[in-house]
Amino acid sequence: MKSPYQNLEDRAFWRACVGRDDDAALARLWSPKLVLDRATPLMTAGSCFAQHLHRALVRGGWNVLQGEDMSVHLPNRLCHRYGYNLFSARYGNIYTARQFRQLVEHALSDDPPPVLCWEKDGRYFDALRPSVEPEGLGAPEDVRQSREEHLSALRSVLAQAGCIVLTLGLTECWIDRETGLALPTAPGTIAGSYDPDRVYLHNFTQSEVMADLRATRDLLRDHGLQAKFLLTVSPVPLVATATGHHVGPATAYSKAVLRAASGELSLGDEDFDYFPSYEIITTPIAGGPYFDQYGRQPTDEGVQLVLKAFGRALGDDASATLETDAVSARDHGQDEETICEEILLEAFNR
């Protein structure tokens, strides 16, 4: 009698591979569709977890693009506080596929970018990346200038990128009614004020997420840009939900939608691949889960495993680099706080 499970690799069987974090097991966690090596220009973007990935890739010696580099001028702590060198450009956290689509549209458009300003105590914040100027700017015109410079830098990054490592974080999103712009955080969290007549909550579905990602890809191709997408899903749970549900099931919905959308795109579209950082951090497949004592932030060990699995699957032997990275991570510990607007929500709840 024959079974379709006969002669399958070990990695097809839970008992044979779960809980292993040795090199061979890590190498089998992901079968890359995309052709990547250390020379491939990578653009990083996404939610809080994308900051971990960005740092780990930079330390690991991958060719991570940096469109608005400030590392020569500023110490890490200050760079990060002002949104520099957290990702490949200074766009702040991008939590939803809609936000990313919108950002690429603005960067590639010939029209002047829309500017949505939030005010707080006489200071002005870019509502599309409110955390990058923690003290705000002196005038709306400064916000506009800063945004134009940012989008110009982003255009250059998009033009160079061979692969966009995009970490999807949320499906819940606040939308500005007048402009239709997707916001990274609710008004009233960092600046501005919440007015239900001006913003509404939208919880994206799988088909909407997929449509946004495909539209982003199509836009790049329309402009002759060839970057492919390596999707990941942030393992970091929602800090709060505005849907009226419990945050636990709301998190499960969000992650399930993002994981399913990534999976479906990866299965059926050659421009998209999925890398299982979500599974490495949240499940026991590589000895995890790897969360801190509060059960929300991934541990350094988990993040290092993610990078190791990434390299091993691509046939990259980077053990020496990783050891150096571990030392570097310790040395710079005080500068390595992940910047996350979501944390502010917690402050509001205290």
Partner: protein, 264 residues
């Protein structure tokens, strides 16, 4: 006698060249001098006995140590307080809200302020370690460049060419005042009589104004001061910190004597 040690970097040269004039104007003052090799705090050790020694061979003609045990006051001059960091930032970026200079990228004033706060705080920590916050020590920032200094990039003072140099100067000064206020050292900001405008020294006090005929000034001759400056600055120090006024003032020589210090 009141014994005053003037230590620091190449800016010590202004006081060395004014030595005769200072001692003539303040007969009760006895001066000694010391310059740190390479301007670097790490080039010297201030031992438990109170002797400051160079850990590497100084330039020929410079003392390699100074005994501070019997000194009543220490005037540490020429301290940059991280001005060069501000220069680099303003050279590469426009500052939002200030006059734009067609740079490709901008930074916010808040970032400039926080950056200077970070750099000056770190500088002050080094200063504090260097002489272990010896309360005899008064620290003086380096003089500002002369008002007639030609605009040159890549100098530690190029930010002063910015149309809003006044504001940038104030941001830097505020950071210096704030962080020095937590140290046991005294702080001697630039006296008004030695300022032509915010961030600029009067032309007459720079080395370029005192060069012998036929000598072509370099950029350093506009950032380093002459003996007249040395006397004037010391007079301000003596007034405020020693309670002394100049007595028989002897006109200082305007001729520059490098005394081996030069513009390092």
């Amino acid at each position: 006698m009141i014994r005053v040690a003037i230590i620091g970097n190449s800016h010590v040269g202004a006081y060395l060249t004014a030595r005769e004039a200072i001692e003539a104007a303040f007969p009760s003052v006895e001066l000694s001098f010391f310059a740190l090799p390479r301007h670097s705090f790490s080039s010297c050790v201030y031992d438990a006995e109170g002797v400051l020694s160079a850990q590497e061979a100084p330039k020929t003609g410079l003392p390699d140590r100074i005994d501070l045990r019997e000194v009543d006051h220490i005037l540490m001059v020429g301290q940059s307080f991280a001005r060069e960091g501000l220069a680099r930032l303003v050279q590469d970026f426009d500052v939002l809200g200030l006059t734009q200079r067609a740079r490709a990228r901008s930074v916010s004033q808040a970032l400039v302020t926080e950056y200077l706060d970070f750099r000056v705080e770190r500088y002050c920590r080094k200063l504090a370690r260097f002489l272990r916050e010896d309360p005899r020590c008064v620290v003086a920032p380096a003089p500002f460049p002369a008002a007639n200094m030609p605009a040159t990039a890549n100098t530690p003072s190029s930010w002063l060419d910015h149309p809003d140099a006044d504001l940038l100067t104030k941001i830097w000064s505020d950071a210096v005042l704030w962080h020095m206020s937590s140290l046991n050292y005294g702080l001697m900001m630039q006296p008004d009589c030695l300022m032509a405008s915010p961030g600029r020294s009067p032309d007459m006090f720079c080395r370029a104004a005192s060069l012998a005929d036929g000598q072509t000034p370099t950029a350093a001759d506009f950032t380093h001061m002459n003996a007249d400056y040395g006397l004037a600055h010391f007079t301000g120090f003596a007034h405020h910190w020693l309670g002394l006024e100049p007595g028989a003032r002897t006109p200082s020589s305007s001729k520059e004597h490098h005394d081996g210090l030069g513009s390092q």
